[in-house]
Structures are given as C-alpha cells and as structure tokens.
Symmetry: C2
Subunit: 121 residues, 2 copies
C-alpha cells in the first residue's frame, strides 16, 4: 500500500497542470482510498496505464483533471473503457466542478473547471 502510494506521488510530480492544490499531493498520510489518477501534461497512455493498474488492484479509479487537462482525462477514461480492459470497465460517474486556484503570477484567485470521472467494473 505504501509502495503504491509513493508511486502515485511520483507520478503526480511536476507537470500536472502547473498548479494543483498541495493538499492533494500528500494522500499517503490519510487513510482514505488511494484510487485517484491526476491527469496532467504527460502522454495520455501513461495515465491510462496507471488507471489500469489501479483498476486491477482496487477495481475502481477516479480520474481527475483541471483546466486544459480535462480533455486528456476524458481521453484516458475512453481509452481505459473502450480500447483497453476488454470491456471490463465502465464509466460510472462524471462530476464537473469549479476550483479556486491562486495564480502564481498575479497572486489573484481564479476559477478553474475540474472533472472527476469514476471508472469501475
């Protein structure tokens, strides 16, 4: 479990989306489920592979993204459900919301859309 958590942390490292809330970066300390994939600027397939690994271990995964990465998160969900996984997994729920993000340049708060796609069996 800890190995998995540290892997996740690493995969989320730098280039997620520029800014991401720091609270999400340290899920290892909490006891909650670790089935989140944060989609950023890496190639789609690297997220799809992470998602498949999570799915095979936990049976469910939440694919999350903000801003411009939202379309890539949809790609990941579509690849996992349609192209990989042999029809085992389905999109179970999709939520969109707005998050407040502090701009690194101006320091102002701005609104960024986010998506959370639940994929499971």
């Amino acid at each position: 479990m800890s190995a998995k958590a540290s892997m996740k942390k690493q995969s989320r490292s730098k280039d997620e989306e520029r800014t991401e809330s720091p609270s999400e970066e340290t899920p290892a300390t909490t006891s909650g489920p670790q089935n989140h994939i944060y989609v950023g600027k890496k190639p789609v397939m690297s997220y799809a592979m992470s998602a498949l690994i999570q799915l095979s271990q936990v049976g469910e995964v939440n694919i999350k993204a903000r801003g411009m990465a939202i379309s890539r998160a949809v790609d990941v969900a579509e690849i996992v459900t349609k192209r990989l996984g042999n029809g085992t997994f389905f999109v179970k729920n999709i939520n969109i919301s707005t998050e407040q993000v502090k701009s690194t340049e101006t320091g102002e708060m701005r609104n960024v859309s986010s998506i959370e796609i639940s994929v499971g069996k």
Copy 2:
C-alpha cells in the same frame, strides 16, 4: 426527427474544434429541438451566452464538444450553472464517448473523445 438528424450530421461535418457548425447559428429554421451548443474555439462567454438564451427559451441545453474543446465545454457548463443564471440551472447529465473523425491531412480515421453535458432547471 429527420430534420434533427440532418442537422446533427451537418453540424458534425468538418471539425467543430476549429470551425463551428453553421446550423447552430440559425436554429430558427428547423422544427426539431434545437437545444444543442457545439463548443469550438470561440471565447467561452459566447457559448455561455448562447446556452443561456437556449435555456431561457427551451429550459434545457446540450453542450457538446470534441477533442481539445472538451475543457471549454466544461467551462461553459460551469459558468452557466454557477456564475450566471442565479442558481436556476443545473448539470443534469454528462456523457463521454469516442467519435471517429477522418483526418484532413492523411485521410485516416482517428478516434476523438467527445463530451455532452445536459444543463437544465
């Protein structure tokens, strides 16, 4: 029904990501439900305004987008439900799917993710 189908076909013609379907601009002519907004590369607010007009007339709108425009479609839905409309409208349903699009350069078919967000009262 046939009017709707032909409209849909037409609107999906080239690539919404760049160009916007001309059919949306003249919704008055056809008889089917015209509550679709195809999100492309225009500023977000222009789609949000179109969506609000549709909502005030029909009470429901489907916000659609493909590829990179997906994140903008989420922005439109969030603006309409959270910032404009005074809390009258809500996201009712979200669907993601994959569409086959013929590349204009190579002529090959490629997969493009798409989203459809239903917003209503």
